[in-house]
């Protein structure tokens, strides 16, 4: 089932949570609403589910307006951030709840419910835990019960509110892959909210980046990452260095460094260029056409890449990521003077939303 969000606005007192949101989610996609806390992503999810009412605008499922449908009638699966499992019910009873509260005419009989619940528990690999209570499960297990419970009513759309937010890093990673596989299996239109860009990039078909109640960009993960529409998206999707300098023709000058730009630009005295740490390289000698001098302030060699923090000649902090091989080759130490140069020309220049 496709979801369409039309001109949704929502305010809480003085605070504008959502400002005229328009969004289309095609059938069967897995979409991430990504943004910092307070950007309105959870509010949007709750409005889609019907738990919250918009001040104006409408939600359409398969082209059909949902304004007069209550949350009970929308048949959505909702997974809460803190699971919201019924604490006095066993895992089995939790998963069976959605089926057992149906009006008598539509309610499946006991054996059928049992069969369906065990099917779901098998899918989330918890069939041996049917008689446990939620408090006897780990966080990851509870989240899987919550998912099975949401899927029990055969929802037309699945909504997940920060589904992995309360879990530790390792379980998070596992569940992410598991959610992706699950979605590939059942193909129910799904929307999940997250503030973790890595999670959104890894799991979602499409990413919707939100900020202060507005949508900044919608696109496939690689699109959003490589072609950010606004400085906010660029900044939110990873670490970055900012250079303020002067643009003239095909050159961007900052301090003693000048960077070649791929295209001719009008003259601009205070241009801003963004470069990601992995787009910069270090060397002991000024072997390149454009470079600048800086001192190493800190090195973090733990992990697959080495993160180097430097102080540029104009006294700004610069972050550079290099490979372990390069780190060993250069034999870097704290306090050394090194030369920084851009690896390629894939840098982003913003000048009144003009990018390249």
């Amino acid at each position: 089932m496709s979801i369409e969000v039309r001109n949704i606005c929502k305010t809480f007192g003085q605070f504008t949570a959502l400002n005229n949101i328009n969004l289309e989610i095609p059938t069967g996609e897995l979409v991430a609403l990504l943004g910092p806390s307070g950007c309105g992503k959870t509010t949007l999810l709750r409005i889609i589910s019907g738990l919250e009412e918009p001040d104006s605008g409408e939600i359409l499922f398969d082209g059909e307006g949902m304004a007069c449908r209550s949350v009970r009638e929308r048949q959505v699966g909702f997974v809460f951030q803190h699971y919201a499992l019924f604490r006095h019910m066993t895992v089995f009873e939790n998963v069976a709840f959605g089926l057992s509260v149906r009006p008598r005419k539509k309610r499946p009989d006991k054996d059928e419910i049992r069969k369906r619940v065990y099917e779901l528990l098998q899918m989330v690999q918890l069939e041996h835990f049917a008689n446990r209570f939620p408090t006897q499960l780990s966080g990851g297990q509870r989240q899987r019960v919550a998912l099975a419970r949401a899927l029990a009513i055969k929802p037309k759309v699945l909504l997940l509110d920060e589904p992995f937010g309360a879990l530790d890093a390792k379980v998070r990673q596992e569940l992410r892959h598991w959610l992706r596989r699950l979605h590939d299996e059942i193909h129910v239109t799904s929307v999940f909210v997250t503030h973790d860009q890595e999670e959104a990039m890894e799991v979602a078909d499409y990413v919707v980046v939100m900020n202060q109640g507005c949508i900044e960009q919608i696109g496939k993960p690689e699109e959003v990452y490589s072609k950010p529409a606004t400085p906010f998206v660029y900044e939110f999707l990873g670490n970055f260095n900012i250079f303020h300098g002067r643009v003239e023709g095909r050159k961007f000058t900052v301090g003693s460094m000048s960077i070649d730009l791929p295209e001719e630009q009008p003259v601009l005295d205070d241009a801003t260029i963004y470069i990601r740490p992995h787009q910069l390289e270090l060397d002991l000698h000024p072997n390149h056409s454009s470079y600048f001098r800086s001192h190493i302030v800190h090195i973090n060699p733990a992990g697959p890449i080495v993160k180097v923090e430097l102080l540029s000649e104009w006294n700004e902090t610069i972050h550079v990521d290099i490979t372990q091989e390069r780190y060993t080759e250069l034999n870097l130490r704290k306090g050394m003077e090194v030369f920084v140069f851009p690896k390629n020309r894939r840098m982003t220049l913003w000048n009144d939303r003009e990018e390249e």
């Binding site: 589910s49 738990l51 959605g98 509260v101 966080g139 937010g165 309360a166 530790d168």
Partner: protein
Amino acid sequence: MKEEVLPVTRVGRKACAITEPRWVRWCLTVGALSFLALFLLVPLLAVFINALDKGISAYWAAIVEPEAWAAIKLTLTATLVAVSINMIFGVAAAWAIAKFEFVGKNILTTLIDLPFAVSPVISGLVFVLLFGAQGLFAPVIESLGIKIIFATPGIILATVFVTFPFIARELIPVMQEQGTEEEEAALVLGANGWQTFWRVTLPNIKWGLLYGVILCTARAMGEFGAVSVVSGHIRGLTNTLPLHVEILYNEYNFSAAFAVASLLALIAVLTLIIKSIVEWQTQRKLSSQDESKTN
């Protein structure tokens, strides 16, 4: 995160740094226990000793005497009705305050505490002024042909008023702490309001509710001031147990007065025991949750 990572401090395990030296602990314990003995245990014993002053047969006679028996029945009726009414309204008020935002919420919260703040005698008097022969609603009541003041309805009304806060007060923090997420989950899964209440909300508050009901019952049975004003002290008709004790005592019928008083004392002790069991159960439930969290 909160539940997973932070170690849960078990109830009963104390850090060495905050324990007092042995003699201080000993002195405090003895002090507290002797205070309790002097002001609670001795009077309680005195009640029973005085009650059995003239032998067990006199004690029994004082209790099964028709007027005493009528007082017992009236007390039980008033308590049963008052506790039922307060249970319904207490749950409703706590539900409204804990789960919804509305205009006048703070006023409602304050109003719930009103019976605690007003002297019971005054609240009894209010009912007399409203429903009495010269009262505000006197014409209405007369035309309907019912009697409220100096009759059972008045006693029930006064009891309801005085014991209203117990259940609501007990439930509000419980419900606030539990939040609304489970109810939302139930709604999303297709449950209607009634199903949500019976299958999700009520099971979650049952221990708090039981605790409130016990306190409310104890207070309803023992209520004297408000009931005294509206009852009219008609023997065998509008006398509750506490009022009956007072009448017997004023007639210098001490052993009978203490015999009936011992009944009330027994009820109080029984209530305390049930209350401890409920508390112990709740504690056990909580600690078993903690244990599974730390595992």
